[in-house]
């Protein structure tokens, strides 16, 4: 009979019309500024730099090795390596980035910088309300804007950050032991002091 399929369709739309009032499965829209979706842990958008401790300049993990700059497919990272060395979070003298800019209008959130970073210094952020009125400067993030604490990293990606922290702690412990052994060989008296300092620094993290 002509019109049978049309009637079937009409019942289906009617079912959806009423269903949208009672069934959450059918009405999936979220009223954005008031309601927000729960943060999915794996979410990524733009990179940020992790620092340990309180001071972002002192605790920055980045040692300016420039691997991410080289590997970044759209070349949105721009790093200038420092001339001098400064002690990092563990107290070891390291180079640091004199300039570290990421142009997030160019960045395509591919996460390759995170994958290639050997120092766990660059990670993916989850902020998404980034609109700005300044088309160029507003989307060009400098070192200070990019720096976020390790606590923040632990908050947004707990599982991943936990693993990173454990690995880093193990590595530092190893380094400390090696240093201690070395120190014990050279100057047995100084061991206690170095060890205490290391513990203190780890505690601030």
């Amino acid at each position: 009979m002509l019109g049978e399929g049309i009637l079937k369709g009409l019942t289906e739309t009617a079912r959806n019309f009423f269903g949208s009032y009672v069934d959450d499965e059918r009405l999936t829209t979220v009223q954005y500024p008031e309601e927000r979706l729960e943060q999915i842990e794996a979410t990524r958008d733009f990179p940020f730099l992790v620092y340990d401790g309180e001071d972002w300049e002192k605790g920055m993990r980045c040692v300016s090795c420039q691997i991410c700059e080289k590997e970044c497919p759209p070349k949105c990272i721009s790093i200038e390596k420092s001339k001098d060395k400064k002690p990092d979070a563990t107290g070891k003298a390291q180079f640091y980035p004199a300039k570290f800019d990421i142009d997030i209008s160019v960045c395509m959130s591919c996460q390759i910088c995170v994958e290639v970073c050997p120092f766990d210094a660059i990670k993916m952020d989850v902020v998404y309300e980034l609109s700005t009125e300044d088309r160029f400067g507003g989307l060009l993030l400098n070192k200070e804007q990019l720096s976020k604490s390790n606590e923040y990293y632990n908050k947004i990606h707990p599982t991943e950050a936990g693993a990173v922290d454990a690995a880093l702690a193990a590595e530092r412990e190893k380094a400390r032991q090696a240093a201690a052994a070395k120190a014990a060989e050279a100057k047995p008296a100084a061991t206690a002091v170095v060890g205490a300092a290391a513990v203190e620094r780890d505690g601030t993290k």
């Binding site: 721009s78 142009d103 160019v106 400067g137 060009l140």
Partner: protein
């Protein structure tokens, strides 16, 4: 089906054609057949219609640019130096490339065979860039050959509608060639660095870059 048998079949059925095996050194071991341009169409026709092969499906058509490349190899030769035979390293310079290559990936839907990879090379990269078009045999080559013409500048003789596909009418260069030079129309990029920054500076005045 073995590529060697395909080669023999072609040689038996298309008189006068020169078919070479091009071996592939990578683990994929997808070897290919290099066919001379003059007999390209006949070989392709045989590959499509020949009872033994029946490659009815032309999956992929690609161009590759091989500019002239000088390869310097050190060859150890024995030479008579002062009457004594000695091993001497000698640098031998050979030229390779200097042509455009078109690669066809053929499959057989009926026999579920493939791929048979057919390559054809142009004489050079300037004037002798003519190759026979296989579009009359496989319609699927129509847009892909247009694309190869557009990006590499290979002229396909016998193509029904050889126009640019992706670039606009009136565009002059062939962008996929290795020696293509980007036009000087860089826009200001905030994080311009290295070479990009250099070119941006050259293109724009200092105030624009500010």
């Amino acid at each position: 089906m073995n590529l060697e048998t395909v080669k023999q079949e072609i040689e038996a059925n298309v008189p006068g054609c020169a078919v070479d095996m091009v071996l592939n050194g990578s683990p994929s071991a997808q070897h290919s057949l290099l066919v001379d341009a003059a007999h390209g169409f006949a070989v392709a026709q045989f590959l499509r219609d020949g009872a033994a092969v029946r490659m009815d499906y032309c999956s992929n058509v690609t161009g590759i640019d091989w500019p002239v490349k000088e390869i310097s190899t050190k060859v150890k030769t024995k030479k008579m130096v002062d009457g004594v035979e000695k091993d001497v390293d000698e640098v031998v310079k050979t030229q390779s490339g200097g042509y455009l290559e078109v690669v066809y990936h053929l499959y057989s839907v009926a026999e579920r065979e493939g791929p048979v990879i057919v390559r054809m090379r142009t004489e050079d990269r300037a004037a002798g860039v003519h190759l026979p078009s296989l579009t009359p045999l496989w319609r699927s080559a129509e847009y892909q050959e247009r694309e190869v013409f557009d990006l590499y500048g290979v002229m396909f003789d016998g193509h029904p509608d050889l126009r640019r596909l992706l670039m606009w009418e009136g565009f002059e260069d062939f962008p996929m060639r290795r020696d293509y030079v980007d036009p000087d129309d860089y826009e200001y990029e905030p994080t311009a660095h290295d070479e990009v920054l250099q070119r941006t500076r050259e293109h724009w005045s200092a105030e624009d870059c500010k």
